[in-house]
Chain length 113, copies 2
DNA sequence: ATCCTTCATCGTGATTCGACGATAGGTGGC
DNA sequence: GCCACCTATCGTCGAATCACGATGAAGGAT
């Protein structure tokens, strides 16, 4: 049952648009925080993995990266703290998936540059 | 003659599209490097200043930020090393402006997420 | 030539990051 | 209960970041 993880653990993308401004001091801080979370190749790679398998994978990420499990877990925490991904516990494993809202927000902020 | 700086020191945006791929290992590194450069509020602010005055300002940036001159210079160097901005010497002062190519590239990479 | 302005660089200290191994916490199977 | 598996967290180390003041280099102005 290796395909089980393809069932998304995270609900469908909430389609409501972001209303917050895309510039100003708060937006600067927000963009900087999001960019900082993306400011490492491993984290970009993790994000790409989660986008590719639109469903959420858990520790398969560790197998795809040349990093120790603890290091990957740390990167996942950074992405989660930034609000870019979400991690839902699914039995003994944890199911990570991207947070579409945050990704849209990032695109909006970068697009406003 | 305070309005002199409004004349752009940098040529008009080269309109040729970017041909490089927006995913893959190289793209991951590239996006991470660009994001890392943006991963600080002061640098986002600097970028916004340079976009607002589409012409290039030099040390006026120091006046707009609550940071020491050396600190601002350091942030400018980071942005310049990342290829996001350019600095042309204009007499005793240096004229910074955004590098439209890099900005477009960033938007393409983020958009591909 | 001498000063003054402008910016970059150096050196420093405090903080954070990135990576790892080791360890602890849950969960399911036996 | 006990054991195996998957994650998270802790502790640690070296390296990088961030901020600053001080110093240096280069170009006008007088």
């Amino acid at each position: 049952m290796k395909d089980k993880a393809e069932v998304a653990c995270c609900g469908p993308a909430s389609a409501q648009p972001d209303l917050r401004p895309v510039e100003g001091a708060d937006a600067d801080e927000e963009l900087a925080a999001l960019a900082k979370a993306l400011g490492h190749p491993a984290r970009v790679q993790i994000l790409r993995i989660l986008v590719r398998r639109n469903a959420c994978v858990c520790g398969d990420i560790v197998d795809e990266l040349p990093l120790a499990q603890s290091t990957v877990s740390q990167h996942l925490k950074i992405l989660k703290d930034a609000g870019i991904i979400r991690g839902d516990v699914d039995g003994p494993r944890v199911c990570y998936c991207i947070e579409p809202r945050a990704l849209r927000r990032l695109k909006a902020l970068v697009g406003a540059l």
